[in-house]
Assembly symmetry: C2
Homo-oligomer: 534 residues x 2
Amino acid sequence: MTARAERRSFWTWGYVSDEPNDAQRQDAARRLAGRIGEHVEPPPVPAIDEIPLPPSRLEVPERLAPWVSTATAERITHTYGGHSLELLKALRGEFDHPPDAVAHPRDEDELEATLDWCDRGGFAAIPYGGGTSVVWGVNVPPDANAAVTIDLDSLNAVLEVDEVSRAARIQAGILGPDLEAALKPRGLTLRHFPQSFPWSTVGGWVATRSGGHYATNHTHIDDFVESTRMLTPRGWFESRRLPGSGAGPSPDRLVLGSEGTLGIITECWLRLQKRPVFRATAGVRFPSWQGGCDAVREIAQAKLWPANLRILDPAEAEFSAGLSDEYALLIIGFESSEIPQGANIHAAVDIARAHGGEVDDDAILVDDGSGSPTGRRGAVGAWRNAFIGVNAGLTAGLGLLADTFETAITWDRWPDFDAEVRERVGRALREAVRGARLSCRFTHVYPDGPAPYYSFSGIVPRGAESERWRVVKQAATEAVVAAGGTVTHHHAVGRMHRDGWDLQRPGPFADLWRAAKRSVDPNGILNPGVLIDP
Amino acid sequence: MTARAERRSFWTWGYVSDEPNDAQRQDAARRLAGRIGEHVEPPPVPAIDEIPLPPSRLEVPERLAPWVSTATAERITHTYGGHSLELLKALRGEFDHPPDAVAHPRDEDELEATLDWCDRGGFAAIPYGGGTSVVWGVNVPPDANAAVTIDLDSLNAVLEVDEVSRAARIQAGILGPDLEAALKPRGLTLRHFPQSFPWSTVGGWVATRSGGHYATNHTHIDDFVESTRMLTPRGWFESRRLPGSGAGPSPDRLVLGSEGTLGIITECWLRLQKRPVFRATAGVRFPSWQGGCDAVREIAQAKLWPANLRILDPAEAEFSAGLSDEYALLIIGFESSEIPQGANIHAAVDIARAHGGEVDDDAILVDDGSGSPTGRRGAVGAWRNAFIGVNAGLTAGLGLLADTFETAITWDRWPDFDAEVRERVGRALREAVRGARLSCRFTHVYPDGPAPYYSFSGIVPRGAESERWRVVKQAATEAVVAAGGTVTHHHAVGRMHRDGWDLQRPGPFADLWRAAKRSVDPNGILNPGVLIDP
């Protein structure tokens, strides 16, 4: 029934073919055992058809049966998103609140019929793109009468390409790689590469305001949206395709970040790029984290708009890029389809050096337009590979707690913010885990502030993961919000970040959004519990 | 009672000191008479205290009296915005629907008391910044029980400047020049220069999503907003100050473009620039309008991000910049506080020349950082002066109909769009006026499309201005919307563009916005009739 060539793994990121095998998991366990000095054994992966599920509370009407299923495998693979605690539950065979049915509508008529069925029955309708939410954005609320997950995987085509304006009309269910494959023959690219890129969809990116490849200037998917088309229980909400407009409040900005609470996004016009051929890259070492951060600020404020401007703190630089732990690493990258980027990289490196950055002249790589990649060697390449290689499955269930939280803060508050977050989260982490690690990089940078991305990890007793995670996560949320940051910069609110979001949003926002939602979703069926109380 | 040093003119743009005197108006009339071959006489300007007004329907409570007035001059100067038909009514002494009272709250407590008075009484509350709306955004609805215009002119301070992040907390009622004067000693600038800049306010810019100085990349005020603070009848709606965020739907984007329907904006954190010292400018002539437009597209798509990239069609180039009417004129300008801009201007000129653009090498002006202006000579300077010198007062009441409409459209549809708009509007114009002129320039340019700005003018019988204007405006709205554009790119919706906006917005938008509005403004007092029916 699914439109994807491959079935998604129900217990780790990616597809069944991405799952590590038993030998790989045993090997990872042995390495971890060596590090922590005690034996660890990877738990067995249950067989998908032996997992006990509560029976479906829905009977699928015959006319919907061609695309709506209550099969166990469907319900299991759509119970969870991509957060590690969810995947741990999955590995343990705990599926207390699966959807009662999963729909794969193959066209808009089938989507309308599906949503109408949910609306009339009062079933929770949960839009589902690639299932990579790390904020509990695709779960069935425990108090739902019944729930239908609506998987957009069959609405996955590039419908039109406008090569003159460099834009395309794209269906929401298309995966990142399929989109890029469709655009490549025309020399075009979206160049929006969130970390979930291989497994996430255009609709998911728009619904959650994902952060992509570009570290400066146009960072969120928001910046690439020309128009959106979304089905609500009260009809189609479609904006006009425009390159820019100041007419009224932007309708697209109501869709962007709506996280499935207003409707189901079916397609968008997105702005594209010509594929870059001019590139320039440098990896600059900084003996001081703060010196590196100051360089980043100045490069961002010079409005050179590098495609990449990511700094890793010493811990992260050591872990991800193999540097000695005394150095922070700043990765600067420029790219263009039309203009050589040598002048830009040298201007940026000059600023970096003025702040104590170290890079050999011959390590500044400038591609003259022949198209050979510049960013895949040395420290830059090592970092790139660490970024691309997400595989939580290897260590799943071994008692290794690892997660991230990301935020944004203005520069004036940055060093204090960093110190306070590290102090509060570090304290909670050391109490909750053994072998605590806490590190930071910037994923995106604005002229007025960075988007810091913190990673934490440590060893916890098996079975205590959830409880220990909550202690650290709560400390992180409290620290970030108290110090003036946002509870998330590009991972979305979902159900996970409701407490932080409720503290940081304008007071009347919840009432306003609830009223707006009721106007298009009077029965409150769409993704209840996300963003606001129903 | 007003906080401004000078009183706004009630019948022309700007202040009383901006008004032309009788000799200047007679001179303008003689020049027009020479052009049209018949005698024209400027109508007398009525004395403000002799204009008949309907009596105020409100009695101001004593506790509000220090900042709320029902004085005739106050009511007259707050009846109209800046559209020529309004100003013509003003010149004729026609003030059928003035506000019943005008408030100038001096702090947030006084603003709260004012809005509370309106809410309890059910009086329309009309937020008022600089009064430069050209879309009937500050008028009293004829069916209001009573109306209070709330002028923010006393909330006009720069409250905080963050030089590290380059941002400032600014009160909504500050005028453009006062803002720039406050920032200049710190070497900072907002560099947001809408055409109304001398007389409009930060709050007005945010409420209407104004378009400013930058022709590419960051064009609307939206791009400079870090956070907003807005008073609604149900409390304060304040967003968190952040350099970027993907947490939920952006609260600021609900405020931006709300045009006074949700609340009264009192302050914002806005992103600033360091004052530019590196500049580069070129004025490029094109024998073909389409060739020039193609060059603009390619420069925008090369992502050089010029601060200025404005092309004038041959009619406009002749009128505004003194070129022969065979040539289109493209003005390219780069600026930076940190980076020399010579490479960028030459890259842009290379693209322009490849499309037939003509410019002498020694007319490409590059400022090495000494700070001397480059854009104030030759054709570029002539255009700049024409842009800055708004003075509708000179020809007011002489039967000269002159107005503009502006839009945006993707490049793939551009040449056809232009042809269709000129055909339909041209036909209506020739039927409605003598000596019809219709011309076009781009005010802003996106990689995926331009924002064309059309100007039209002609001579009509005095007294027929409104009727003839409606014929042309309706043709323009119909043509623009039918051909896929937006009814406005940066002039806002107001009451003027309701018909076009209703056609272009998503179907359920009006219900959604009405529901959102009711949640914060249950009595529907805020700027009724703007954006949606109450």
